[in-house]
Symmetry: D2
Subunit: 422 residues, 4 copies
Amino acid sequence: MLSEHYRQVRRHTLALAEPLSDEDCGAQSMTDASPVKWHLAHTTWFFETFILERLEADFVPFHTAFRVLFNSYYNGIGEKHPRAQRGLLTRPSMAEVRAYRSNVDARLVRLLAAASGQDGTGLQAELAPLVTLGLQHEQQHQELLLTDVKHLLAQNPLLPAYLAQPLQPPPAAPVLEWQAFEGGLCEIGHQGEGFCFDNELPRHRQYLAPFELATRLVSNGEYLAFIEAGGYRDASLWLAEGWDWVRSQQLAAPLYWRQDGQGQWHEFTLYGEQPLVPARPACHLSLFEADAYARWAGARLPTEAEWEYAAQRAGVAEPLQAMALHPRCAGEDGDRGSLLQMLGQGWQWTSSSYAAYPGFRTAAGALGEYNGKFMLNQYVLRGSSCATPAGHARISYRNFFPAGARWQFTAIRLARQSSAAV
Amino acid sequence: MLSEHYRQVRRHTLALAEPLSDEDCGAQSMTDASPVKWHLAHTTWFFETFILERLEADFVPFHTAFRVLFNSYYNGIGEKHPRAQRGLLTRPSMAEVRAYRSNVDARLVRLLAAASGQDGTGLQAELAPLVTLGLQHEQQHQELLLTDVKHLLAQNPLLPAYLAQPLQPPPAAPVLEWQAFEGGLCEIGHQGEGFCFDNELPRHRQYLAPFELATRLVSNGEYLAFIEAGGYRDASLWLAEGWDWVRSQQLAAPLYWRQDGQGQWHEFTLYGEQPLVPARPACHLSLFEADAYARWAGARLPTEAEWEYAAQRAGVAEPLQAMALHPRCAGEDGDRGSLLQMLGQGWQWTSSSYAAYPGFRTAAGALGEYNGKFMLNQYVLRGSSCATPAGHARISYRNFFPAGARWQFTAIRLARQSSAAV
Amino acid sequence: MLSEHYRQVRRHTLALAEPLSDEDCGAQSMTDASPVKWHLAHTTWFFETFILERLEADFVPFHTAFRVLFNSYYNGIGEKHPRAQRGLLTRPSMAEVRAYRSNVDARLVRLLAAASGQDGTGLQAELAPLVTLGLQHEQQHQELLLTDVKHLLAQNPLLPAYLAQPLQPPPAAPVLEWQAFEGGLCEIGHQGEGFCFDNELPRHRQYLAPFELATRLVSNGEYLAFIEAGGYRDASLWLAEGWDWVRSQQLAAPLYWRQDGQGQWHEFTLYGEQPLVPARPACHLSLFEADAYARWAGARLPTEAEWEYAAQRAGVAEPLQAMALHPRCAGEDGDRGSLLQMLGQGWQWTSSSYAAYPGFRTAAGALGEYNGKFMLNQYVLRGSSCATPAGHARISYRNFFPAGARWQFTAIRLARQSSAAV
Amino acid sequence: MLSEHYRQVRRHTLALAEPLSDEDCGAQSMTDASPVKWHLAHTTWFFETFILERLEADFVPFHTAFRVLFNSYYNGIGEKHPRAQRGLLTRPSMAEVRAYRSNVDARLVRLLAAASGQDGTGLQAELAPLVTLGLQHEQQHQELLLTDVKHLLAQNPLLPAYLAQPLQPPPAAPVLEWQAFEGGLCEIGHQGEGFCFDNELPRHRQYLAPFELATRLVSNGEYLAFIEAGGYRDASLWLAEGWDWVRSQQLAAPLYWRQDGQGQWHEFTLYGEQPLVPARPACHLSLFEADAYARWAGARLPTEAEWEYAAQRAGVAEPLQAMALHPRCAGEDGDRGSLLQMLGQGWQWTSSSYAAYPGFRTAAGALGEYNGKFMLNQYVLRGSSCATPAGHARISYRNFFPAGARWQFTAIRLARQSSAAV
Ligand SMILES: [Fe+3]
Ligand SMILES: [Fe+3]
Ligand SMILES: [Fe+3]
Ligand SMILES: [Fe+3]
C-alpha cells in the first residue's frame, strides 16, 4: 500500500517533466529556483541518503558524487554543491538522472517488501515514517518544479508555454463577503493520526480576539483597481522595506503581468501568455504587495492562527479538481461553502512570522534541519495552491517564504477586526 | 513642569556630546549609525517639524534646507537626505546646530508658556502629547548617540575612549537560576495613564504555556565557554541565515571583542579597550548569536509575551543607577530580587518577530510612520540597557532590530519550557 | 570556391558541438562565456543580419525574435537579449538552431551562386567581403566555443571530458633561449591582399629600441617554480590592480590547476583532468600573472610591435598540426626554427593596451562596432592558440582581453631589453 | 635654499586648509578622495617615513600608529589603514595633525642644516633628492586636497563655497584653430637636470605621423552643443565601456553641472555654484566623455607623444597666474601663443594608456611603488590644471587616472590627422 503510493508519487514527478525538453530541464533561472532535473535527482537523493544509506544492507551509493551534488541544505550530511550553480550541472544527463531514479526506486521497493514481510516489523517501524516523509518531500518538490519552470519560461522572450492549451474563460467571481468568527481560547496545530511536518506541532492553545475573514481570494480585477488607484506609487500604503523593494526594482504590477502598448493587461501562465481575466484570483504577489493591498482596502492580512481556526470552523476541504496549472475562479470547481478558495488555488500570506510553536522539537540528526533552521525572516502562508498535488494539503500546513518572494502561486485573503466588536 | 522636563532632556543630549570634538561629532561609521551632530539636529527637527510648524503662529523655519537634511524616514514630510551620506554634512557646523537647538528651544518654551497661560487649554491639549512624544524620541536618540559613537570610535585603530576613566572591577556574578511561571491567559501591552509608544497598544490577551526564565543575563564568562566549545564552527547550533552570516563575515566572537596574541580577551567599551571581565553581561550580540547560544545551552529565547508577563509578576523596576556607559554585573547596583538585570543593563532578544498587536492603529499623518512601517523582518528586544536614559524604560517597551544588529547593547536572557510541565 | 569554403567552415562549427549533449550546449557558466547553442545561432545570425537582410531579394527573417536574441553587442542593429541570460534560452531548442543554420546556409549558398553567375558582378563585389568577414567571425567563435565549454565543464565537480582521450606525454621542452632583434624604424600592421580585421590597419611605422625575445613560451615547470618561490604572496611582483585581484579572489595558481592532498598538481583540460606536465606551456593565465611572472624572472612582456616585428624577421608560420584541444610542447609538432610556439599553442600577452593604429577607421554602420568600440582597458594578445582554427592566424592579428581574463588559452612569451644595448 | 623651499611648500599646504573647518577637513566623500586632514598627515608621513626614519640619528616616530594610519599604498612599508575608512579617523584631531607637521618640519629642517654644514656632503647627496621628491609629492597632494574638498562640498545640498568670492566674467574665447605638426622621429621624456618623476624616463625616440592639434581647450559652450545634439543618448559615439558607464549611471552632463527648472545651466565651483559661462573650458570630464565629444566633433584625442612633441615645438610654459580655483578662459591670463591652455587650466586626456617607457626602471624599495605599479587600465593626462601649484608643471609630466574619473580638473584638447597628409 505504501509501496503503491510510493510508485504513484514518484511516477507523477516524472509525468510533470514530460512536456519539457532536456534543455528545459537543465536551466536555472535564479538562485531561488532549481532546474527540473535537479528536482528529479534531489528527491531521489532524499530517499537514498535518509533511507537506503541507513537501512539498506550492503548499501552502495548509485554515484558517490551525488551525495554532494544533490544535497540541498543539510549541513549534517556534509558538503553541498553551491545552490546558484545547479544550472551548470549538464552532467549527469537527464538520462542518467532517470536511471538514478529507477535504481533507487527498485531498491526502495525491495526494502519496503522486506519490511512488510515476516520478521520485518522492526524495519517497518523505522522505514514507514521515513518513506512517508520522503513522499511528502517529493510532493513539495512537485509544486516547486512547476513554479520554477514557470519562472524559467517567463525569462524567455519567446514566452513558451509549458502546456499549449487554451485557458477556458471562467464564470464571474462571486461577491467578496465577510464571515465573522468569535475567537476566544482556541487550539491550532496538527491533530490526529495522519502525517504532518514537525513545524505543525505541537498542537497548542492560542487566544484570538473576534475577527472576520473574506469569503474568497482577492481577484485580478480588484487588484487592478489598486494599481489604477496609484497603489504602487503611494508610500503610505507600504511597509518601509516593501517601499524600498518597490522603488529599487521599479515595480508596478504583480510578477508575470504585462501591459501592452494598447493598455491591455496580460498574464504569463503555464499555458503561455493569456489576457488577464478579472474574475481569477490575483497571484504571484509578495507579502509586501498583499500587505499594501490590504491596507488600501481598509483591511489587513489574517494571522496564521486566525486562518487555521477559521478553516476548522468552516469545514474546509481540498477542491475536487486538485493540482491545476493556474488558479481557478471562486466557485469554479465545486469549491462551495462559506469560505471559498481556502485550499487549492493560491497560498495565502499571513501576517505571522514563521516561528516555532511552543514546545516545538526538531528531529535528531540532519533531518532536524528540514524546517526548524528556517524560522527567521520568513512569513507563513496558509492553504495550498493549484500546483499543490492532490492529498498534500492540510489546514494545519505551514508554508513559508521571505516577504519578497513572488514566484510561487501566492494570493491574498483579507481579514479585519470584527465589526461587531467595535 | 513639562517645560522644565523639556529643558532637562534637551540639556542632557548636549551633555552627552560634551566629551567629543567637532570632528568626532561629524563622522558616520556605517549606514545604520548616524553622526552625533545629526542626532542633535534631527531631534530638534522633530520639534520644529511636528510641533512648531503646526502650532506656532507665523512659523518661519530656522533654515529651509533643514526640513530635508534632518528628516530621518518620514515620507509624509517629503524628501530626505540619503541616510548613508549623513557623515558628509560638514555644514551646518556643530556651532550652527547648537544655534538651531537654542532657537527651537526658545520657541518651544514660548509655546509651552502660551499653552499653560489663560486661553491656552485648547493649545495645551494638542501640544502636551506632542512635546512628550518629542522628548521620548529625544531619549531614544540619546541612547543611539552613545551606541553610534561607540561604533565610530571602535573603527579607529587608536581605540580612543569616549570617557577616559577606569572601569571598576565588579563583584562575582550570582549563579544563574531559573524562575518558573505558570502562564495561562494573561495580558500584555501598556496599561495606565503614563506615556507609551503606539506599538505597545492595545493591551490584549495572550495564552502562555508554563515556562521558566533565567534570573540574570548570560555573562561574558558563560559566552566565552560557548566560543571555546566551538560554538561559532558548529552549523547545527545556528539558524540557516545565521550560519550564512557567521560564515560570510567570518565571525568568531561578539562585536568589540578581541583576542590578543597571548590569547587574552579584551572588550572595547566607551571607556576604551578593557580586559574582558567574566562576570559582566555578554553584550553586543546579534539575535543569531543569542539564539545559537541558547540552543547550545539547552534553552531558548523567551517570547516577548513571556518576558513582559514575567516582568509583571516579578515587579521589575529601573535600577537605581540609571544610564551608564557599560552594563554592570548582576546585583552590582541594587538591582535585587528574583529576576535581575531585566532593565538597565542590556536589551534582551526575544524570539518574537516585531508585529502589530491585535487592533493596533497608527496615528494619522506622517507621525503614523513612527513605528508601524517597520513591522517586518525585525525582532523584538525587551528591557532596556545601560545607555537608556533614566525614566525612559517600561516593561511594556518594545525595542526592535534586524537579527544581525550588534552595535546596540544587546544581551541574552534565557528561557525554557517549564520542567514541571513535563 | 568561396561557397565551398563557406560550407567547410560552417560544417566545422557543427562538428565542434558533436561531442556534446543538448544539455551541455545550453548552459552558460559565466557572463563572459556563452552557451555552445548560442554560438551556433549567433554566427548564423551574423550572416542573416549583415548579408541576407541587406542583399537577399524578398528577405524574410527565419524567426523575427532571433534578431534580438542572437545580437551580441551591435547597438546599430537594435535591442539585445541580456548577455548574462543567454543560458536561460532553452528555446529555441538545439534542433531549431540546427534548422536555423540549414536555412541560412541554403539561402547564403543560393546568393553566392547568383553572385557568381552572369550579371552578378555588382553583387559579388559587395557580397564576397561580407561572407569572408562572416567566416572569419565564425572561426573566432569556434575558438570561443571550445574555451567556453571548457569553462563550463570545469565548473562541474564530475570534471567531465569534452573528449575522453588520453593526452600523449610530450618530449622534454627545449631550453629557453633569447633571440636578439635590432629594432629601429619598422613597420607593423597588415600588409597585402589577404583578409584582415580593421584593427590591423593601417600598416604604419614605429620606432623600436633593440630587444630580445624568448625562443619559446614559459613552461608549466617554470611557472610552478614561480608558485613555489612564493610568487602569489609577494606584493612587490604585482601591479597594484593585480595584487588586489590575487587577494580578493585568493588565487594561488593558474585557472584549472589543482593541487591534490598529496601535493601533486593536476590540470583540467578538454580531455578531462590530467597530471600537470612540466614541459607543456603554462596557460590560462591572466595578464596580471604573466606580468608578475616576467618581473620575477627578471624579464618583461613584449610590446605588440616587438612581437610582430620579431615574427616578421623569424619567418613565423602556422604549425602543421593546427587546432588541437590543448597546447603542445615546444617543438612537438614540427614547429621548428629560432622562435618556437609563436602561433598555434597559446595567445601571448603583450604590455600593449588595445588601441587604434594611427589613422584607424571603422566601417560605416553597425559593422563598425566590430572592433573599435572595445579599444579601452583591454590588452593585446598576439599569436594564436591550439584552439584557433587552421588558416585563421596571422602575425598581424590582434586579439584582446581584459587583464584578468583567464579562460582563453593565454600564455607567456618573455622579452627583455637587449643585453648588447647595456 | 632647499630648506627655504621646504618651508614654503609646507606652509602652502596649511594655507589651503585655512578656509575650512575641522569638520570639513575630516570627511571623505568617496573612496577615491581623501579628507583634507589625511592629506596634511600623509604628506608629513612621507617625510618621516622615507627620510627621517632612514637618515635621522636616534629616530623616534612621532606616533607609532601613524606609520600605518597614513600609509597610502606602499606595501613595502607594511600595513595600511583601509582607504575607504579615512573619513572615520576623527582622531588624531586636526590640532594633533598640525603638531605632527610642526614636529616633522623641525626635525627635517635640522637634518637639512646638518647636511649643508661641514661633513654633511654624504648626507646631502642622499637627502636632497629625497626632500625634493617629498616636496613634489606634497605639491601633488595640494592639488588633490582641492579636488577632494570640492567633491565633498558638492555632495552637500547646501552647496557651500570653499571661497565665497564672485567669479569674474571672462572675455570671449578665441576661435578654436588647428596647428599642424610634421612629426617624424622625435624624442619624448624628461630631459635635463631638473626634477622629474621616474615615469618620465628614459627619454626615448618615437615615430609620429603628421598631425594637428587644437589651439585651445574645448569650451563649455562647445560641450553644451554636444549635449544638446543628443551626445549622451547616441551609442555610436561612445566606447562600449563608456556607453555602459553612461547608461548605468544615467549621466547626461559633466560632473558638477546642473540644469535648473528654467533650463539654465549651472556649474559647482570652489566659489560655490555659478552660472555656466560658455567661454570657460569644459572640465570635470571623464575620458569616456572626452573621447565621445572628439568623435562627435570629427576629431580624436592626441596621444601623449603628440602632445609632448607639440609642446616642445610650441615653446609652452606655465601661465603667469598659477594655481587658481577654477580654469580660466583661453587667453585670459597672459597665456598667449599658438597653443593656448597647454598648462595651468585643465589636465588633457590623451588616448595613451599609462605604460612604462622603454627601459623604464623603478627605484629600489618601497619608493619603487610610487608610480610603476599603477601602469594598467589608466590613461595619461598631459599638461596641468588651475589647481596645480606654481612650478610643479612640466611638459614631460605624466598624470594618469582611470577612464571614468571626473573629479579632477580634466579637459579636452582635440587632435586630428594632418589634413595635408590626406
Ligand atoms: Fe528538498
Ligand atoms: Fe528619530
Ligand atoms: Fe560575434
Ligand atoms: Fe601620496
